[in-house]
């Protein structure tokens, strides 16, 4: 995976986005001029502390997870056999993918018009719209989930309103996929809006009038010109939301049903509840592998679109 692709996918670490955020508009800054000091080993020393910490407390734990998955209780692939042959595991995995996909689609449908609006308003309004998207990131997922818990519970205000106005309810707003998807979409939306906005901001505004001049109706112009050009942003946002969604634990635990758990809860259950380290770690490796496969697939796909977008300019 290329450097740029990686940064786009992570949502946060895109330095160009950061620059956009701090300067308010999509102006490209000067590229870093690097001092070339051949055979100077001193700067390498600066990298050592971070390298050591990340290696010992990120890479080593992941290796440990992998090692346990093939060695607990005995050396072999029995944990992976268990993983793929136990029907409930597959049900949980499918539920996790389906929920994550649902959240991705919901976020995409909400984020696209929002990001588009950001490209057509004044600088001032755009900054405000951007701030509103960033604001929720300032509050912990836990607090936001607690708030949903208050609102969505059976005796909560939303069910109360439904009963008073429509005479229905209480509806299963929590302990259901609905609650989980609602909470997760709200948390993950920023990770969809920001990459889509960066992609839309790069599209030449004259293309749509040009398409109209050539006789395309607005809908046709949108689907044949605008949407394809925004594909890199859609890909980047969707992948980020999807893979972040796969690992969610707190929201499904508090807003979901204990009978319809997701993969992270199953992992927790196996390790913390049953002390089945082999099972739990095999699930972890499965989740990690899925993440890598999704990243790799979309990395390849979006490379294709990048080429296309480059030609479009």
């Amino acid at each position: 995976m290329g450097r740029l692709g990686y940064r786009q996918l992570t949502g946060m670490p895109d330095i160009s986005t950061l620059r956009d955020r701090s300067k308010g508009s999509g102006r490209g800054g000067a590229t870093a001029k690097q001092v070339r000091e051949p055979k100077n080993w001193r700067p390498f020393l600066l990298l050592i502390p971070a390298f050591v910490v990340v290696s010992f407390f990120f890479l080593a734990p992941l290796i440990d997870v992998f090692y346990r998955s093939i060695s607990d209780p005995t050396l072999g692939v029995q944990n992976y056999v268990w993983l793929f042959t136990t029907p409930t595991n597959m049900v949980v995995a499918f539920r996790t993918f389906a929920t994550s996909l649902l959240v991705t689609v919901v976020c995409l449908l909400i984020a696209y018009p929002y990001a588009y609006l950001m490209t057509v308003v004044s600088d001032r309004t755009r900054n405000m719209l951007q701030l509103f998207i960033m604001l929720p990131l300032w509050t912990s997922i836990l607090v936001r989930t607690l708030a949903w818990l208050v609102l969505l519970q059976d005796t909560g205000p939303i069910n109360g309103l439904l009963e008073a106005v429509f005479g229905i309810g209480p509806l299963p707003l929590i302990r259901s996929t609905f609650g989980v998807a609602l909470g997760m979409s709200q948390v993950l939306l920023p990770f969809m809006v920001l990459p889509i906005y960066s992609a839309l901001a790069k599209i030449d505004k004259r293309l749509l009038p040009a398409a109209a001049n050539l006789g395309a109706r607005p809908v046709t112009a949108f689907f044949t010109v605008y949407l394809p050009l925004s594909r890199p942003g859609i890909f980047a946002g969707s992948v980020t939301v999807f893979i972040l969604g796969l690992g969610f634990y707190i929201i499904p635990a508090l807003l979901g049903s204990s009978k319809e758990i997701m993969m992270s809860a199953l992992m927790y259950q196996q390790i913390s509840g049953f002390l089945m380290w082999g099972h739990g770690t095999a699930l972890g490796i499965f989740m990690l592998a899925t993440t890598i496969v999704v990243l790799a697939l979309v990395g390849r796909a979006s490379k294709g679109t990048n080429l296309f977008a480059g030609r479009g300019k």
Binding site: I15, I110, V150, I250, L254, M287
Partner: protein, 261 residues
């Protein structure tokens, strides 16, 4: 233009959906009844009083602040070094190394959590201050590196060369030339690191012990086990702490804008 107006209305709805639900926790914290039912009945400060008089809640707030502050210092120091190192070295695997430092942001937290749990179990680090700090540093470090790297891109290397030419050593050049120039990025990165640690829950749930619990862990345990209404007040306090810190970070990056323009 009606299309744009419709989009505007939609955006308002989206913003309300993003921001309003969370605020429900504020009136809940002043509830005079011992329940999570909305709307709250009456007005009382009893949950805040509970929080500030209960040693176990106060202890977890203290732990959280302690862990977050140390994480901030450690992650910022390591992050500045790494970002400067990355800006100066040139070798084949540089992009890979850069990605390596940022990877903890996309690997599912739960997988890192079980790995750390397993590792800390072997080395007796569960429920210890160093354990919490190291776990949080792994996820806070990338944010510092990103922010400092962004700041470094605005630093003209000629300034450092000039400083060296005038006889300043590397350390002196760093503290009197480079650091002041990248200060906005350092401040923002440090504050992000603080909030990341202060709000961190997944890793914390796995490295906690009854002896050492950070605030989010205690909130989570309280919600899932005892449903003590004090959590509403605690949530409001936690929310205002992180919002305050993030506002400061926002202010720091604003300053950067003014300086660089």
């Amino acid at each position: 233009m009606t299309f744009k107006r419709a989009l505007g209305a939609l955006a308002v709805l989206i913003v309300l959906w993003l921001l309003l639900p969370t605020l429900v926790i504020i009136p809940m914290s002043f509830n005079s009844a011992a329940s999570f039912n909305f709307p709250p009945q009456g007005f009382s400060l009893q949950w805040y009083e509970n929080f500030f008089t209960d040693p176990s809640w106060l202890r977890s707030l203290g732990s959280s602040l302690q862990v977050a502050l140390i994480t901030m210092v450690v992650a910022t120091a390591l992050g500045i070094m790494a970002a400067i190192g990355l800006s100066k070295v040139k070798f084949r695997g540089k992009a890979l190394l850069e990605s390596y430092f940022l990877t903890p942001l996309i690997v599912p937290g739960i997988v890192i959590a079980i790995g750390l749990y397993s590792l800390f179990l072997r080395f007796n680090l569960l429920g210890t201050l160093p354990g919490f700090v190291l776990a949080h540093t792994v996820v806070a470090l990338p944010l510092v590196i990103i922010n400092v790297t962004a700041s470094l891109q605005g630093v003209d290397p000629k300034l450092e060369q000039a400083s060296a030419t005038l006889g300043a050593g590397r350390l002196r050049t760093f503290f009197s030339i480079t650091l002041p120039l990248i200060m906005p990025g350092v401040t923002a990165g440090a504050l992000f690191a603080f909030v990341t640690s202060f709000d961190e829950i997944i890793l914390s749930l796995f490295v906690q012990s009854p002896q050492l619990q950070t605030l989010p862990v205690k909130i989570y345990n309280s919600v899932t086990q005892t449903s003590d209404p004090t959590v509403a007040a605690v949530a409001v306090i936690a929310m205002f702490t992180s919002v305050l810190v993030m506002l400061t970070a926002q202010f720091a990056t604003r300053k950067r804008k003014r300086v660089s323009v």
